[in-house]
């Protein structure tokens, strides 16, 4: 974590209008992504992690959604407010996205080769033959056996893990500076997930890219990310490097999450620690801290005021809580 950030997100607000009113899915979220860094965005469904990822690529469906405030700067260039055609020049070349379900990212009626070479020819100006050679090389890089044969197959002929590798190869094809990966291994089986995660970490180092990894799985975060942001109800609860986040979590929500996961190799047929209650409805948010009514450290102030992150400097753990757990010294 050094030098200038590649991506700088400040006070991002994303709203969706629904039948019942305006929902603020992301509420004043700020973070940096540094070169060659993998940043995890973790949280449960509806916490705003995916919407945050999508807004970086200008992929918030509008209407009903809109970026209602804040700024997203990539290499110093403001992305909020760009037109669709301007975004199209950035997507793929500067920022690429990997989605959860590879079948939705691939077109079922074209071969893998034709989908990959399309991109390479348009963005990199390669000839048909050069593009094919480059595509085969990329497929080999992501660990697809016999890439010169696989390139002429259709998506349905590949297994889930292979498809996700193809999607990763496509995301890499124009050498983006930043990849946003939204639950890239959630649809895969554990052994396949292990293969794909290993590949992602290797490629991230080899291509010297930055990555935002959106996931609900704290295990995946611990194994692949350098830093992570824990989100709750559209806001950042805690922002920390991986060591302190897992070794000395400070936000009661982070602590609760970590305690409620059963772990392999720790066999105790006892009750798990539980975070009581449920995530509040985004349409009827409490006035104070959004975690207050589930929190064991709640005090009067938590129900009155909304806690902000306790500072901007990202070199130490930042937490949005009035009564966080102590920092480890």
């Amino acid at each position: 974590m050094s030098g200038q950030p590649l991506l700088r997100v400040r006070d991002l607000v994303v709203e969706f209008s629904t039948e019942h009113g305006v929902v603020r899915a992301v509420d004043r979220v700020s973070f940096d992504v540094f070169p060659n860094e993998t940043l995890g965005l973790v949280g449960e469904s509806g916490c705003g992690k995916t919407v945050t990822g999508l807004s970086i690529l200008g992929l918030i469906p509008s209407p009903p959604g809109r970026i209602a405030g804040g700024s997203i700067q990539l290499d110093g260039r403001e992305l909020v407010g760009l037109s669709e055609s301007e975004f199209r020049r950035i997507r793929g070349r500067d920022v690429a996205m990997i989605f959860q379900e590879p079948m939705t990212a691939l077109n079922p009626v074209f071969t893998i080769g034709s989908q990959m070479t399309d991109v390479l020819r348009r963005y990199k100006g390669l000839t048909r033959r050069q593009a094919r050679a480059a595509a085969i090389e990329l497929l080999a890089k992501v660990g697809i056996p016999a890439p010169d044969r696989r390139i002429d197959e259709y998506p349905h002929q590949l297994s889930g893990g292979m498809r996700q590798r193809v999607v990763i190869a496509m995301a890499l094809s124009c050498g983006p500076k930043l990849i946003v990966a939204d639950e890239p291994t959630t649809a895969l089986d554990v052994t396949t997930q292990a293969q794909v995660l290993e590949q992602i970490v290797k490629l991230q180092q080899e291509f010297r890219m930055s990555m935002i990894l959106v996931t609900h799985d704290l295990g995946v975060v611990a194994e692949t990310c350098h830093r992570a942001i824990v989100m709750y109800c559209g806001r950042i609860a805690e922002k920390a490097e991986i060591g302190p986040l897992f070794g000395a979590p400070r936000h009661p929500y982070t602590v609760g999450l970590l305690e409620s996961i059963p772990r392999v190799g720790v066999h105790e047929k006892e009750d798990l620690a539980v975070i009581p209650g449920m995530v509040p409805d985004l349409l009827h948010l409490p006035r104070g801290c959004r975690f207050a009514d589930r929190c064991s450290r709640r005090q009067a102030r938590c129900e009155e005021a909304l806690p902000e992150l306790d500072g901007d400097d990202e070199s130490v753990t930042r937490v949005a809580c009035f009564h966080p757990y102590e920092r480890m010294s």
Partner: protein, 324 residues
Amino acid sequence: MTALLEIRNLQKHFPVRGGFLRRVVAQVKAVDGVSFKLEFGKTLGLVGESGCGKSTLGRAILQLQKPTGGQVILEGEDLTAASPARLLEMRREMQIIFQDPFASLSPRRTVAQTIREPLEVHHIGTPAERNRKVEELLQVVGMRSNVLDRYPHEFSGGQRQRIGIARALALNPKLIIADEPVSALDVSVRAQVLNLIAGLQREHGIAFLFISHDLSVVEHVSDHVGVMYLGKMVELAPAKEIYRDPRHPYTQALLSAVPVPDPKRKSKRIVLTGDVPSPMNPPPGCPFHKRCPKVMDVCSKVVPPVVDVGSADKPHRVACHLHS
């Protein structure tokens, strides 16, 4: 002591039809010769990756899908030979909880109707008694009785799963088959539902067959764990043993592949190559030999027999040539 449930060499093969005359051209061996016992009040966890046959096994036990071979013995009675009327009676003893709490509840029925239905099907109690039972069940799963007249869409995933559990409990079953009961739930809610299931077992002595792809969840809830691969049970042992000392190379790889939420633990990961083969034409010999890091010549030729490598009080069954 006789077991509550005994499965002997259970098979469920699905025919694959093809060609002009729709002849049977192949068999998908979804469950292929699985045997185990489940004691009263205990939990057997079944793990494996998608397509290994674990869900089909659960359905074949309940006779929701008729097994094509083998026996399912519940309290000494073979379900595969039971008449439809007898089967209906025996279904009181065994219930199922499904994975998707959004698909397993009828959107047109209120909570009360949903939970009352099994009582009506089996003609248990008077209408007033049924209503009392429904309220009691809601309390057991930790919901208030003011939800009785509400519809499933008004509830979150965790609450719906509680409703599904209440329905499964209505007949006081001895066995509940839970097919990925917490996979659709968020972490914080998942812990609540797992604790509920553990509490039910303690208080009511219900045996669970807990089917899941999540090894850490299975370890947490189970007394014994069975690992399935391509329709076969490759390893079966007490939960503690299987995690402490996995014997089958597939179990070892599966366990090492689970991401651990502890950045300090740099585990030695066994990364398998290739994908699970199609159950339509599984490889000859050991079903795992094409991906096995310890493969030997014999593995591609002979199906490994199941051997017990444990002790008398801790049986540990494994189907691998390394141990035979």
